[in-house]
């Protein structure tokens, strides 16, 4: 039986002939502007799936809750809107832990709705019971257990507010089955229930002035840009400020696209596998301006040896990031957009009387590093395909315009290095948590959110094997993602570390098969399956893949099994010692 929609947005279930917690939940999601959500049903969440039948919200049925969570993250990262995922109690909720932690680490706005066993059964080890809010305590920005259906509108409203403001992040709302079935009514929600939550948006004007003075006077300044700039929608202000100040820009893994790679001030990604100019510019800087970045260990290497002569300006919306890893000389708590606007305004008045500093020796030095230490690889005509070469060819063929998702490992680093990003939200990846298997479900979410954009998933064979079931979702939902599986027959990055740091003793890293047959597997899941294993086939297979418009495509790219990812700073090492190749280690 289908529930009927009443005038004024009120649903009454034909099953119960009553307006219940489930109706209130769906109405609340609509009230928050939700048009699409991802999920998997189950026992405790059953009541919420019934009114969904007549809701205008599109529910995308994933094949695993982890997949649903990553889809919601892909949706959120590609659009800046809150991603919504729904799952049942127990295993449904525990399967969400990875996407929740992933969203927490990468500050992705997410609201997760989970069913829970009835309130009367909580704590009794009931079927499919897990202490979801307890688990969520460790991997969300905040979580709720709803005990009265009347609270649903306010709690859902708070959840969306918390997820999307301040430092964005995941929020979980756990609703017991009896609360979903409880008769209730809907009331316009307020934020009165959050007395302790007051994120700071605007930076302190005195600190903003101090920052501008410090940057203006610097001889070797660097703008160290993190994902916060993308979250805040501050790319235009960043471009303006960098040009007005004439300061080079590095973009972290989470910030790729925040500043156009084609720009003369762009130095690329810093850190463990960053470009030589980006990593070294930070090392040699006298003023380091961190904008929405958090001095992650993959960026800093050995903290004690990181940017030893730099004074630090640290702009972050989360006060706890300031001073956590590196002391800030000018701390500015605020949203990257608001603070960059203030920095631009302050600089504008400065420019009325003085031109931008030329910093000629600094730019000459940067240029020298750029020329002498470029990213490189050696693609032989008769050798195996190099992933880096394939990515460059794909970039050319797509005009660089695609939304790119990635898994985690060598292919992810090469994607970040060799794809030239030109706009924010073009790069969707798992940075902080390093979640293998992110690429395929994130691509599905991004594609459904952006149906008119080309979405390519760059994946490794190891990653692909963790979540490829979501290709079924892609087929069924008609999401024509292009998945490129760089098959090097193993966990490439782990293998690289075993080669470099374990004397080549390869342990549990071999995926060389002979199974699966990727094109056949793709076909079984409703996708077009293709393969390339010779450099001469690269352009043809790319053309073929990009030509498929009505279904997902999986291209197995058989690549060099021995290629290693460089530049590299070994974990915990000083960023002064960048290995450009194996001979440097």
């Amino acid at each position: 039986m289908r529930p009927t929609r009443q005038p004024g947005g009120f649903f009454v279930s034909q099953m119960t002939q009553q307006y219940t917690g489930s109706n209130s939940l769906l109405q609340s999601l609509e009230h928050e502007g939700v048009e699409m959500m991802f999920g998997v049903p189950g026992g405790a969440i059953l009541p919420a799936y019934d009114p969904l039948l007549s809701s205008p919200i599109r529910h995308v049925l994933a094949r695993h809750e982890q997949g649903a969570g990553h889809m919601a993250e892909g949706f959120a990262q590609a659009t800046g809107r809150v991603g919504v995922v729904m799952a049942t109690s127990g295993p449904g909720a525990t399967n969400l832990i990875t996407p929740l932690q992933n969203a927490l680490m990468d500050s992705t706005p997410l609201v997760a709705i989970t069913g829970q066993v009835p309130t009367t059964a909580i704590g009794s080890d009931a079927f499919q019971e897990a202490y979801t809010t307890g688990l969520a305590m460790h991997c969300t920005k905040h979580s709720y257990l709803v005990t009265d259906a009347d609270e649903i509108p306010a709690i859902v409203h708070e959840a969306f507010h918390l997820a999307s403001t301040g430092r964005p992040g995941p929020v979980l709302v756990d609703i017991p089955k009896d609360v979903l079935n409880q008769p209730t009514s809907w009331a316009e929600p307020s934020l009165a229930g959050l007395p302790g939550y007051r994120p700071t948006r605007a930076g302190h004007p005195k600190q903003v002035r101090a920052a501008v003075r410090m940057i203006e006077a610097a001889e070797r300044p660097v703008l160290y840009v993190g994902g916060g700039v993308i979250k805040a929608g501050a790319a235009a202000e960043l471009l303006r400020f960098a040009e007005m100040m004439n300061v080079p820009v590095v973009t972290t893994l989470m910030a790729r696209g925040a500043f156009p790679d084609q720009h003369p001030l762009a130095l690329g990604m810093p850190g463990m596998h960053g470009t030589y100019p980006a990593t070294t510019a930070i090392q040699k800087s006298d003023v380091l301006v961190s904008l929405g970045a958090r001095f992650d260990d993959r960026v800093t290497g050995n903290v004690a040896a990181f940017a030893p002569n730099a004074k630090v300006v640290h702009v972050d919306v989360d006060p706890a990031e300031i001073g956590k890893v590196r002391k800030a000389d000018v701390p500015i708590v605020g949203d990257a957009k608001t603070v960059l606007e203030a920095l631009v305004a302050e600089t504008t008045s400065l420019r009325a009387t003085s031109p931008a500093p030329a910093r000629e020796p600094w730019f000459a030095q940067l240029e020298e590093w750029r020329v002498s230490r470029p990213l490189s690889y050696d693609q032989q005509e008769d050798g195996p395909i190099k992933t880096q070469y394939f990515i460059e060819q794909l970039h050319k063929a797509t005009g660089g315009n695609a939304i790119v998702t990635a898994g985690v490992g060598q292919h992810q680093m090469w994607a970040s290095q060799f794809w030239e990003f030109s706009r924010p939200r073009q790069w969707v990846n798992s940075g902080g948590l390093g979640t293998m298997g992110f690429a395929v479900p994130a691509a599905v979410g991004a594609q459904l959110a952006r149906p008119d954009d080309l979405v390519v998933a760059l994946d490794g064979d190891g990653c692909f094997q963790m979540t490829f079931q979501e290709l079924i979702t892609a087929s069924v939902e008609k999401a024509p993602i292009k998945v490129f599986v760089f098959n090097n027959g193993g966990y490439g990055m782990v293998k690289q570390w075993q080669h470099l740091f374990y004397d080549g003793r390869l342990s549990a890293v071999d995926l060389s098969g002979p199974v699966p047959d990727y094109p056949k597997l793709a076909e079984a899941l409703g996708c077009v399956g293709l393969r390339a294993d010779d450099p001469g086939e690269v352009d043809t297979v790319i053309d073929k893949a990009l030509g498929v418009e009505d279904s997902p495509v999986v291209v197995e790219v058989v690549v060099d099994t021995e290629e290693m990812c460089f530049p590299m700073v070994p974990a915990g090492g000083s960023n002064d010692n960048i290995a450009m190749g194996r001979e440097d280690l």
Partner: protein, 170 residues
């Protein structure tokens, strides 16, 4: 180094779990914790004594918890700090008088008495409780329970005289 923090939180289910989860997640040590409702409806106050090399970071992480409304450090001399202790001391006919005499210096009340032991209720500043224990230890401590520390900000230089009110002044 030990610090005393007064943390005002929303009186909601799970808030104490969130605070202690944050401490264990981030590797901070709690030395003592006491929690109870305040005079304001819906607000509770947690008094924390913590060992933290980076107190600023700890305070910021507390602030990050959505249910935390206010975090205030009671720096040395600024706070009035109290603990309550119940302590059972071994006694016999010959030691009873002596023990009671010593205990009276600390304004300790006898709350239970048997042929072989005396139980005292003592409240006071943490150093005073330690001093009391030093006095009774030679007779044999049979059992001991201490509350978490509670603290409130001092508003003046006024200190009540020794023995008055809730134990000795600190």
């Amino acid at each position: 180094m030990q610090h005393t923090l007064a943390v005002i939180v929303e009186n909601k289910p799970g808030v104490l779990a969130r605070v202690s989860a944050m401490f264990s997640n981030r590797g901070f040590n709690i030395h003592s914790l006491a929690v109870g409702p305040t005079h304001v409806e819906g607000r509770s106050r947690i008094t924390l004594v913590v060992d933290a090399p980076d107190l600023e970071q700890l305070k910021k992480q507390l602030h990050k918890l959505v249910n935390v409304i206010k975090v205030h450090e009671l720096v040395d001399g600024e706070g009035i700090e109290r603990e309550v202790m119940l302590v059972r001391v071994s006694s016999n006919a010959s030691t009873l008088g002596e023990i009671r005499e010593r205990a009276s210096l600390f304004d300790a009340r006898v709350v239970d008495l048997s042929a072989s032991s005396l139980t005292f209720e003592v409240s006071g500043s943490p150093p005073n409780l330690s001093a009391f224990l030093d006095q009774v230890r030679p007779y044999g401590i049979v059992d001991l329970v201490k509350s978490g520390r509670i603290a409130i900000r001092r508003t003046s230089a006024f200190s009540p005289p020794v023995g008055a009110g809730a134990g000795m002044s600190s």
